[in-house]
Symmetry: C2
Subunit: 389 residues, 2 copies
């Protein structure tokens, strides 16, 4: 039966699992933010070896209120980490143990790394993050798609990763509420005129509707589902993707889009002259993605994989989706329920400028997504600095 762990019980579990040596001297600290999960860090004080025990809480605390949230997300998370590990073990924490009824995942401690969002805010560049994330997305996407996996087996995997409750969070908070006058939205009073203009923008909403429909219907590849820079631990050399509790079968461009958007939000929050590393990461991620995906393509057993133009169409589709979903993410992090520290930590006047810029950029990403090449993203950032009269 489910019960929340205490630090004591977390240690007892670690001992029972035999993850440390016999004469280990274990200490434990709960280090989670307490909103969605308990996170226990257990250290052997003699060797400094450590592990993480993550336990889902049966509710989420957002905006002060708590709403019930399925514990099944812990199972989704551990299964997603294991599935990803079968393709790219270098980019996910090792899972040592999971317990479905306790909603627990016991895994590698990554405390030697830093959450990428925080690092970027501090001005770090993480020179290898785009190489790593591009490879992570390309390999997990290809091998879980109809091109890289037995197509019947894929349908069963998609069935297993049916994740309605977590998907609903994205459907509402990313793809719907920010585009309507909805009470989950959260923005500075000074932005009201800009936001109302967006709510009245039927051309934009017609395109956002298409993106939402893709998210709702296109069971294409196993996605992380929440791949922002807060879901990535990094250093100069290493990159680890964490927290795939939103994992589900969705459109191939979605993870790319979330990642691009969070790089863009960091870029917008910086001085113009300091944005180059972020644009570099966006373009490099895409380059590594298409290079890796195209190499894997030769392994495909799908007969159409040999037909001229098909790979091109799949990649274009991915880029179109990535740009569109990036636009949605930029907008929802600006006026929706959950913001990003990159922008929220700015002083008010600067923040308002950045947010207005973000709204214009997000819109153009969405409505222009069909034909844009990857390098046009940084041009769009430039073109949306000022209001277009």
């Amino acid at each position: 039966m489910y019960e929340p762990l205490t630090e004591q019980k977390a240690i007892a579990l670690a001992v029972r699992l035999g993850l440390f040596g016999k004469d280990a001297l274990l200490s434990c600290k709960e280090i989670g933010d307490g909103n969605l999960n308990l996170v226990f860090r257990i250290v052997n004080e003699r060797t400094n070896d450590s592990i993480i025990i993550k336990q889902a809480l049966p509710y989420a605390k957002v905006v002060g209120e708590s709403w019930p949230l399925t514990l099944k997300r812990a199972t989704i998370e551990s299964q997603a980490l294991r599935t990803f590990a079968s393709y790219v073990p270098q980019y996910v924490p090792k899972v040592y143990y999971s317990d479905e009824s306790l909603a627990i995942t016991v895994m590698e401690d990554l405390s030697h790394l830093q959450i990428a969002r925080r690092g970027f805010i501090e001005g770090k560049t993480f020179p290898n993050i785009s190489e790593h994330i591009g490879e992570f997305i390309a390999k997990t996407a290809f091998y879980t798609s109809d091109f890289g996996m037995n197509q019947q087996q894929k349908k069963k995997l998609a069935q297993q990763f049916t994740n309605p409750e977590l998907c609903k969070i994205t459907e509402d908070l990313v793809l719907t509420d920010p585009f309507f006058d909805h009470d989950t939205n959260n923005f500075e009073a000074e932005l009201r005129a800009d936001v109302e203009q967006l709510w009245q923008d039927d051309a934009l909403k017609r395109e956002t509707a298409k993106l939402k429909r893709r998210f709702l219907t296109k069971a294409d590849v196993l996605l992380h589902g929440d791949l922002h820079t807060g879901s990535i631990f990094a250093s100069d050399d290493e990159t680890k993707v964490i927290d795939p509790e939103f994992a589900f079968y969705g459109p191939i461009g979605f993870d790319l889009g979330q990642f691009f958007a969070n790089l863009l939000l960091n870029a917008l929050a910086r001085d113009e002259r300091d944005r180059k590393p972020l644009f570099h990461h966006i373009e490099k991620t895409w380059d590594v993605f298409i290079r890796t995906f195209s190499e894997l393509w030769r392994e495909s057993n799908e007969p159409y994989a040999t037909v001229s133009g098909v790979l091109h169409d799949v990649l274009r589709d991915a880029l179109t989706e990535a740009i569109g979903f990036a636009g949605c993410e930029v907008i929802r992090r600006t006026i929706g329920l959950a913001h990003v520290a990159d922008v929220d930590e700015l002083p008010l006047e600067r923040r308002l400028d950045v947010k207005r810029h973000a709204l214009r950029l997000g819109r153009e990403l969405i409505v222009q997504r069909e034909q844009l090449p990857i390098h046009a993203i940084k041009q769009l950032v430039q073109q949306t600095v000022h209001v277009n009269s």
Copy 2:
């Protein structure tokens, strides 16, 4: 435990279920074609009341060979009939009972109706079939889509209708094999040059790849999955859709496309002057579909349903898919494993003409699908009578 029924055991089951009165005098006859299913018709000789007991066999006999085929399809079939009945009870046989382990569905006997394909071959017009099928598809599509059903509930329904083995039959025999030199293909030696030209047509295959990808990935609405004129019982007044063992969550235009294609194949097999009722049915089905779907649209709880243009985009998407999948079906019924009696019963010379016409028509439906209005389908039939030089 599964065992195939005998006529004796079928009667015993009917008695046990109490489907006839106490003093019924029951007779039973197995009337199936024996390829995939046993079909027992049980009649009360005193009243002429009757029922059907359908039992899936654990193999399929096609081209003389038998291959194993999941019994789960009986469960899919009875669940699909029940789901459809909750929206359009007038267009499906009543289900009285089902038994998962015996792979049995006990249902209404429709022997007073005729299989629509056979009727069309005999020159019947079934004046109401398009009104009924248009309404059947519109209502089942809307109410099982993200626009007509709770979006979380829909994901669970899609999970329940995961149908990899039956989907694979369509993926292979409809969407792949006919476009490649594959040993399941089956066509007259005289057609070889035409067929080889099709196999070398990369522009066509690039488009077919997109349609296959939609079929593989787009979990949009609960489909019948095999809605050709052989899956429809009809009279002048009544229409009943049977045999939804291929049911799964797929692209909204697929059932429409299969139905259009089989009307087109019958049209091609007729003298030109007798084709009008078939074209009428195609256009009427579409008109009823959009009229019904658009009325239901007003009930939608999806916030984007109120945004200008979104309904238009969904309907255009449906038509584009319908035309494209119709093209695939026309081609596969011409050169693939399973043909249609409409064409196969023609004398050789006429049959070859019709099949060459069908190949040209199928190709154009696929490559031109994006922009064609519904009435352009009959024009395409005209334009593809002769080889375009």
